[in-house]
């Protein structure tokens, strides 16, 4: 028995080894050569350890930042960064989320095989984030010692969300791609934001020209480089709150915030400002290291997952990451990003003035990566159904969503909620919050209600797929007819 105990506690409970083993099994199933199997297993395990190393750097950078915001404003302020919160949660919930990914993938394959929801979700990093989110909210809700239920129920919820969201977004996606046969599906957990943007576009942009007809300055495209954009944004945020602090806080309090750099005789305002500057850079470094780890893990896992899916569900549609829609609207994606950012700042002010004091919501500072990718996607969806107006309104609404939803999610994340980060995209927000609230029912009611909720989602997506998607319904019909009429020669 002690050997079994050793294996389960010392190996299967260590996320890095578990991920390595999963990669090895996947590669063996793909009939890869022994050398490739070994290197894949080693790389996947090392990738996970690298992720943890990056998390340490980020946490060390965020701790004084959170402290600074709290002392400046009296409110808890957070920059939503999926990579960071996942890496932070890895030590406590890593093993459970690894099991949820694998079992959730199997649930997804079963659903794709036996229902009309024939989608294979292939966006690996979002699977990692969603499984972590579910492991956290279910563990917090179910209480200690319920690990097996967390994994089982988490896997059902994970498998369900991976097929229902692409189905709900499919008509909008067809409008983006410009073909009703649905060759491409979106597999990205900001789908609620894209559907809202697409629906808003259809409502406001009945007679709006496409954003792609505008000559849009490409000067902002340098922000596509996430290392640059994340670091610059953090520098700006850090500097804003550091200068704010320098104005309102007493000197002794200031010197305590970056105690390691601003102690001793050389402690002055210059040292304090440069310490803030250095910490902002540390955040960019940490995120880059985490992403490097994620990249190595996914490079091994995603091909293995896809190879297995091809055998089990031949002909299923791959649901892919949001950048696949950017080529269908390069201008729209930049417009959507800017509108989303403005929407995020607008909502930040609303929280600071009204929602925070009234409901205790945290200040959600704009995260560059979510606004860029989610806002960009929302812009493309909004433009597809409602032209320029659709891109602007869709992006703005997305910005509101990805500011409010992470704030709600923070309230159900339990102890992690104080960890200076939360998940940034819309689906993590609504799905995590709903399940977090259900989880508060405790055992045994919570798992039963969750399974019913999952069944309800599948049923709704099933009906939508058969009645709407498969019959060729497209949103924004009025605008499509108007565009067609524009192209016809004028009759005298």
């Amino acid at each position: 028995m002690s050997i079994l105990n050793f294996i389960s506690v010392q190996i299967l409970n260590v996320p890095a080894y578990l991920i390595g083993i999963v990669a090895v099994i996947g590669l063996i199933a793909m009939k890869k050569k022994p050398g490739e199997v070994i290197s894949g297993g080693v790389k996947a395990a090392m990738g996970y350890l690298i992720l943890g190393a990056g998390a340490t750097v980020v946490v060390n950078s965020l701790t004084p930042f959170g402290d600074l915001i709290l002392k400046d404003t009296g409110a808890h302020g957070v920059v939503p960064t999926n990579e960071v919160i996942t890496a932070q949660a890895a030590s406590q919930f890593g093993a459970q989320s690894a099991y949820i990914i694998v079992l959730g993938f199997i649930v997804m394959l079963v659903l794709a095989r036996f229902t009309p929801l024939r989608y294979v979700f292939l966006t690996g990093h979002h699977m990692v984030f969603m499984s972590t989110l579910l492991a956290v909210v279910l563990s917090v809700g179910f209480g200690p010692g319920q690990g097996i239920w967390v994994v089982l129920i988490g896997s059902v919820l994970m498998g369900v969300i991976m097929v229902v969201m692409p189905a709900f977004a499919q008509p909008y996606m067809n409008r983006v791609v410009g073909s009703p046969d649905g060759n491409l599906a979106i597999g990205h957990f900001n789908t609620l934001g894209y559907i809202v943007a697409g629906a808003a576009g259809a409502a406001v942009g009945k007679r709006s020209k496409s954003a792609e007809e505008v000559n849009f300055p490409q000067g902002l495209s340098f922000l596509r480089d996430s290392m640059v954009s994340t670091t610059l944004l953090m520098l700006v945020l850090y500097m804003v709150f550091a200068v704010w602090g320098a104005i309102v806080l007493p000197h002794d309090t200031l010197m305590q915030i970056f105690a390691s750099s601003t102690s001793g005789p050389s402690a002055d305002l210059g040292a304090y400002i440069m310490a803030a500057f250095a910490q902002a850079l540390q955040f960019g470094i940490g995120v880059s290291v985490i992403l490097y780890g994620v990249r190595i893990i996914l490079g091994e896992l995603v091909p293995a997952f896809q190879g297995i899916a091809e055998r089990v569900v031949p002909g299923a549609k791959p649901a892919l990451d949001v950048p696949i829609v950017f080529p269908f609207g390069p201008n729209s994606s930049l417009i959507g990003f800017l509108s989303s950012f403005v929407g995020g700042l607008f909502t930040l002010v609303v929280i600071a003035i009204w929602l925070g004091p009234a409901f205790g919501l945290a200040l959600i500072l704009p995260g560059m990566v979510p606004h860029f990718f989610d806002g960009g996607g929302a812009g493309v969806f909004g433009n597809a159904t409602g032209g320029r107006r659709g891109a602007v309104v869709g992006g703005f609404l997305n910005g509101i969503l990805i500011t409010l939803l992470p704030a709600f999610l923070l309230t159900v994340l339990g102890t992690l909620g104080m960890a200076n980060s939360t998940f940034g995209d819309a689906d993590f927000g609504w799905f995590g919050t709903v399940n977090g609230l259900i989880a508060r029912l405790g055992m045994p009611a919570a798992p039963i209600v969750m399974v019913l909720f999952a069944l309800l989602l599948v049923a709704a997506a099933w009906i939508f797929k058969v009645r709407r998607v498969d019959t060729g319904w497209l949103p924004g019909r009025a605008r499509a007819e108007w565009l067609a009429a524009q192209k016809e020669p004028v009759r005298h």
Partner: protein, 92 residues
């Protein structure tokens, strides 16, 4: 040959492109190593690469590197990827 697939973050679409490029190279019978990179590290990754595959909007950012850059419009289109690759095979 060494092929590098580049996307914004190096964790989503570039992996899809890598898998499809590996399949296409297999069909073409070309022995090759395909890796992924994000746009931040792409210039470094391009050192020693024989070909960079990426989307149109990112290709502009890699216009001045020494390795040839090929644009793939649809990362899921096996025919397009095969055509792009066969146009860039090393002349033996």
């Amino acid at each position: 040959m060494n092929v590098v697939c580049v996307c914004g973050m190096g964790i989503g679409t570039s992996i899809i492109l890598k898998m499809n490029a590996e399949k296409a190279l297999g069909r073409l019978g070309v022995p090759a190593t395909v890796t992924t990179s994000d746009i931040s590290a792409a210039r470094g990754a391009a050192q020693g690469a024989d070909l960079i595959l990426t989307s149109a909007e990112l290709a502009e950012k890699l216009a001045d590197i020494s390795a040839p850059v090929a644009v793939v419009n649809n990362f899921m289109d096996a025919t397009e990827i095969e055509t792009v690759l066969s146009d860039h095979l090393p002349r033996s």
